[in-house]
Subunit: 365 residues, 2 copies
């Protein structure tokens, strides 16, 4: 076991509309013993209860002994944000994790470098898109997938809302589209991979991932806001599965969009997604249908790559209402270590022509 502040977990919170010192005192207890401090043995007060290590204006920093986590990602999440998620006006702004904590997880299996090798794309942005819309049949979705794979799209994912609807049931879709993409990639010489969504009953997620792999799928789309971050971690750490993972922010928005409460965008979609094993993290790009600001998007980008106990950097994957015309601007904004995600706009006009134009735009970048 470690001791000394540099081996502790540090969580930085911003406090709004409350006394920061009082909130700090509440958090250090709430997130650990949930018990009147004066009734706890002295060693528990000193060791198990968090310590307020800084209060600067509205920013507080709490330090925790890594033993409070007990070695599991689930309890790390509970320590950082379990009960305090119920406090109004408190927001996670930064995390500092010692090696004993980052070492609990494998993190991203592929990361930026591994994904680039798999896709034979040593430097350019990765290009991804989604099979849409819900309601189309497996055959129709597979036909689009063939066009997209032939155009050289790197990753062709299920729209995240495709589940097990009767129009294109999950297993049927995954088997047919996997085979179609494998075939189209072979014919065209591309490295295209199909990425089915694993928004399946949680107890079936492992078997579904294996069924997808057996069918020829080349990556997995996971919704940790619904399946849980730890379910994604287990998939990422499975040596026999060994498929790239893209995370999707479904059901996670409330943690971020209320600016004085929740978890900073970069912490949740960068740091925590990496801890939970995502190789690529989807988020709504600025200027699309959602609300993320330029600064929030850059924060996600930065936390996808910043030092995190030696865990691999991952691709930020901005999407949501993106158009072909914005590609140069997006590359300018995010840099080349980005997985561009473009969806419905490809379908306005001719899909094949649009897909080829997009690949050309990226290759020219």
């Amino acid at each position: 076991m470690t001791s000394g502040a540099d081996a502790h977990i540090l969580v930085t919170y911003a406090v709004t509309d409350s006394d920061p010192a009082a909130v700090a005192e509440a958090i250090r207890v709430e997130q650990t013993i949930e018990f009147p401090v004066d009734l706890a043995p002295t060693w528990i007060q000193d060791t198990v209860v968090g310590t307020v290590v800084a209060i600067h204006d509205d920013t507080i920093v709490i330090s925790y002994d890594p033993r409070t986590v007990g070695g599991d990602l689930v309890q790390l999440l509970n320590l950082i944000w379990g009960n305090v998620s119920l406090f109004p006006g408190v927001r996670v702004k930064d995390l500092s994790l010692p090696p004993s904590i980052t070492g609990m997880v494998r993190g991203p299996r592929f990361g930026v470098q591994g994904i680039r090798e798999l896709l034979d794309a040593p430097a350019r942005p990765i290009v991804t898109t989604a099979l849409k819309p819900m309601g189309r049949s497996t055959a129709e979705l597979a036909a689009d997938a063939v066009i997209l794979a032939s155009a050289g799209f790197d990753l062709i994912k299920d729209d995240h809302g495709l589940a097990n609807q009767p129009w294109a049931p999950w297993l049927e879709r995954v088997q047919h589209v996997s085979a179609a993409v494998v075939d189209a990639a072979e014919r065209s010489g591309s490295k295209s991979r199909y990425m089915p969504v694993l928004n399946v009953p949680t107890a079936q997620i492992h078997d579904a991932a294996y069924a997808a792999k057996a069918a020829g799928a080349g990556a997995l789309l996971v919704l940790p806001g619904i399946s849980g971050f730890d379910a994604m971690r287990a998939l990422a750490e499975d040596d026999d599965l060994a498929l790239p993972i893209m995370s999707h922010p479904s059901f996670l928005g409330s943690h971020m969009v209320n600016r004085t409460q929740g978890i900073d965008h970069g912490i949740l979609l960068g740091t925590i997604m990496r801890l939970a094993g995502a190789d690529m993290s989807v988020f709504p790009n600025l200027g699309g249908r959602f609300s993320f600001s330029a600064q929030e998007c850059l924060d996600i980008r930065d936390r996808c790559a910043s030092e995190l106990g030696g865990l691999a950097p991952i691709f930020p994957s901005p999407g949501g209402g993106m158009s072909l015309e914005r590609i140069p601007e997006m590359i300018d904004f995010y840099g080349h270590d980005v997985a561009l995600l473009i969806g419905g706009a490809l379908h306005r006009g001719d899909l094949r022509a649009n897909a080829e134009a997009m690949m050309n735009a990226v290759r020219a970048s």
Copy 2:
């Protein structure tokens, strides 16, 4: 397949600081096809895309064909709150679910009536408490559990932050405390049950639940904000496990505490917890360390019992900073169908005397 509005899913949202009609139009597409509506085939526009069925002031109601859910709770959650969770100023206010949706799940296995029978408590409030604080050894926690079981506490749960810390490792704790509570209940003639927390790695949650049952545990505490709602549902629906489940709101706060964004307290902690199989739903009582208002607490209580496709009503379980003195007021406020949760305050003074006083107060109610 069904047709007609009465067989559809209705989701009511409140919209703040945006044009309700524009938000309604965005949601009905975002939550289904995520695709330019004009590019979708007409039948998909008419059937798969949601329909705006009402706009009254800032309140909008969207109707969805139940086929968009594909039979799974995970996709129901995604339909109601997946991407729209990323919209600022949008909040789920009501859900109306047709039989085809409520029929997907078993819901609470025990519910109010089943829990009352198990605990031989036909009419009074159920009395629960937590083993605390983190840092104490298994032997110390087990000793407290014996006192609490001997005093007749119905359910003695792990504090939700007890995970697999070195001071009282999960399996050691669950085995020793289970045995201690079974023994104390036999000796005292009480029906006390120990309820370990299942904040374990998600892929191990099923095995952990069985290990707990094998050790003699009599109920399970689940954190669906971390493990996922569907992991809890699977535990609830497991006929061989068949243990009562209490849900804890850890990590779920941001969905509720920002009053113009998120999901109404009663919908999340009442309706959704019931769909996901909880028999008892923990939440912070008004006047404790947290922020829930009287109206929000009553909304949770009401949604724990309101009509929901024939699913069993469940116990609201208010806790958090509760004291012995507030018991009569709480019974007055919530009624007798409540699982009172009292924690640290029992430890101020003599635990045995306090525990007996609490049971007497409840029996006198």
